[in-house]
Symmetry: C2
Subunit: 386 residues, 2 copies
Amino acid sequence: VYKKVEHEVIEMVKMTKSVGRDPRRIIHSIKVALAITLASFFYYFKPLYDSFGASAIWAIITVIVVFEFSVGATIGKGLNRMIATILGGALGFGTHYLANLCGDKGQPLILGALVFVVAAIASFMRFFPSMKARYDYGLLIFILTFSMVAVSSYRDDEVLKLASDRFLTIVIGSFIAVSICIFVCPIWIGNDLHDQLVNNVENLATFLQEFGAQYFRSSQGVEQVNKASMHKYKTILTSKQSEESMANLARWEPGPRKFGFRHPWKQYLNISSSARECAYRVRVLDVYLENNDQIQIESQFKEEFLRMCKESAKALKEVAMAIKKMAPPALASAHIERAKATTENLSSLLANHRFEGLEMIPTATLVSLLIDLLCCIEKVADCTRE
Amino acid sequence: VYKKVEHEVIEMVKMTKSVGRDPRRIIHSIKVALAITLASFFYYFKPLYDSFGASAIWAIITVIVVFEFSVGATIGKGLNRMIATILGGALGFGTHYLANLCGDKGQPLILGALVFVVAAIASFMRFFPSMKARYDYGLLIFILTFSMVAVSSYRDDEVLKLASDRFLTIVIGSFIAVSICIFVCPIWIGNDLHDQLVNNVENLATFLQEFGAQYFRSSQGVEQVNKASMHKYKTILTSKQSEESMANLARWEPGPRKFGFRHPWKQYLNISSSARECAYRVRVLDVYLENNDQIQIESQFKEEFLRMCKESAKALKEVAMAIKKMAPPALASAHIERAKATTENLSSLLANHRFEGLEMIPTATLVSLLIDLLCCIEKVADCTRE
């Protein structure tokens, strides 16, 4: 038993270390704790407590629920919560007023029916794609506040006081969360998306570089190829959903350091999806040569392949730099032109070469795949230019 | 202005229709409304109201927050919320007891310090991958309940009553949500995942079928090719994240109709990721032939290509059936063997054929890509057998 516990503890420490390697996570945890402590001053200081009483708990709840890792997510949740609370509260109060008109017996029936209808409609609206992307949390809070105000109005006549206290404390809680999120080491999701896109394009370039070095370099100077950095491109293959949600959150962020408020996040998704098309080809190339390890390619082809990989990689690096600096990729087209020249050389070599038996299959396949990849790279560069 | 409003309304109706095409969404909305109505009986009936008082609001809040589209998600959230509430409440009560020992002056200091430390640690733990996948919501509620009980204990001496009332109402709310979710037209996320996997593999098979018909059928009998169903495979390319979260949620579900409790959802993810590898190749094939529309392939090759596509498609269909019925794919290997025989025919045809100039590039490329694809299909079949 002792050994097992020891093992568990060691695992735990390892996990903590690996999670804590990103210092932003530690900072985030401290920020959350700080915001909760700030919000709980409503309890500790008597003058503050006297003005809100037990409703002050909503400030603490709001801070905890609204505080997210990135500024965009926190602002989005805070705004959603505030707007939904005021709308839900107002509608709930209206329902209370309407039900009051119907006398003691009708009141619960009217209340129940209205709550049922509003809750069903709002739940259904959560499925609308445009709502789901940015206002899902708001609709949830709308249902919540509306039901709370409408239902509790049946027993509690101070429903207006309840609704307004709840709204005020939620506004205060949201402000505490958003301000700490923005003013203490902010984490802008827009920056993250930007960096991730740059990284993705750079990883593709790295793959092509290492790939060329591994398979097409002349046998004299065999260098060690870095397999790990070569395979970093794999994350792009499946990053679509996370990028889309990042772009959705980034739209909540006011212009941070580098970007304007109306930064074209949609353009990012376009570049990213054309980079993903590149990655599919890269994946096929990668596995193709891994499975056909002992294929023989004549050295004259190898040279051209190597040059083509190098030029394509350079073009991608240019694109990555251009995204980083948000300038048009000036030199990328020159590299693409040079890579295209190589494909012409390759074609004429192929046309004049006499192959034995099945020898030409790998060479011909590589030519097609690399030409195809080049088209994709050109599209990435075009997207970036816009 | 009138025209604009009319346009908006028409858009709205269109949107509603397209969202409502899935009747499960309408049913879900009604289920949510029903659960809220049930929970609000705590207010409408005096005997029920007398036992909980204003704490009954937590039952309504719980129903709204816990109720999700699928059974797995609802159970997961309900369990998380209940367990986190009892743990957070217990720890909060302990903190209250400890702070009470320190006298009037020390109390807020001790409370503040403990809340700060616990909130920071729990926030940090939310980053652990194993926690994030299944207990993220629980950790949030833990922080929430702990802070609520600990902080409000400073002003309210009935903290034990508060904590136990909150816990009881949350249990009741969770039970209402989970039972309505399970007993009224349940939506099992496990079934969805299962169906999606079957669909994905079937879409790949459809692509190969239509692809063969479009490019390799002899010119006499040109059939209309269904482009839309041909391109359905595209969803597989980017479905990884949604499948992983579905598998995580499915693990909360008790054995529904067809599956056991310990259904191997991990195996599903394996099959799915090998199907995704197929899809990358399919994507490259698709774009390759689209870009090279006028390529000439000799009719003897076309026949073999067509046969190969057909056999591969049949093998994939077998696999899809096998997943559907949860039986080993008996006939898949026979189809794969036949497809392999075709590749041998193709190789010998290629070896003996004399090509002019660059003519052999497309044929050789197609051979390599199809062989590569066949390897992937074999892997899918192997995964399914396990």
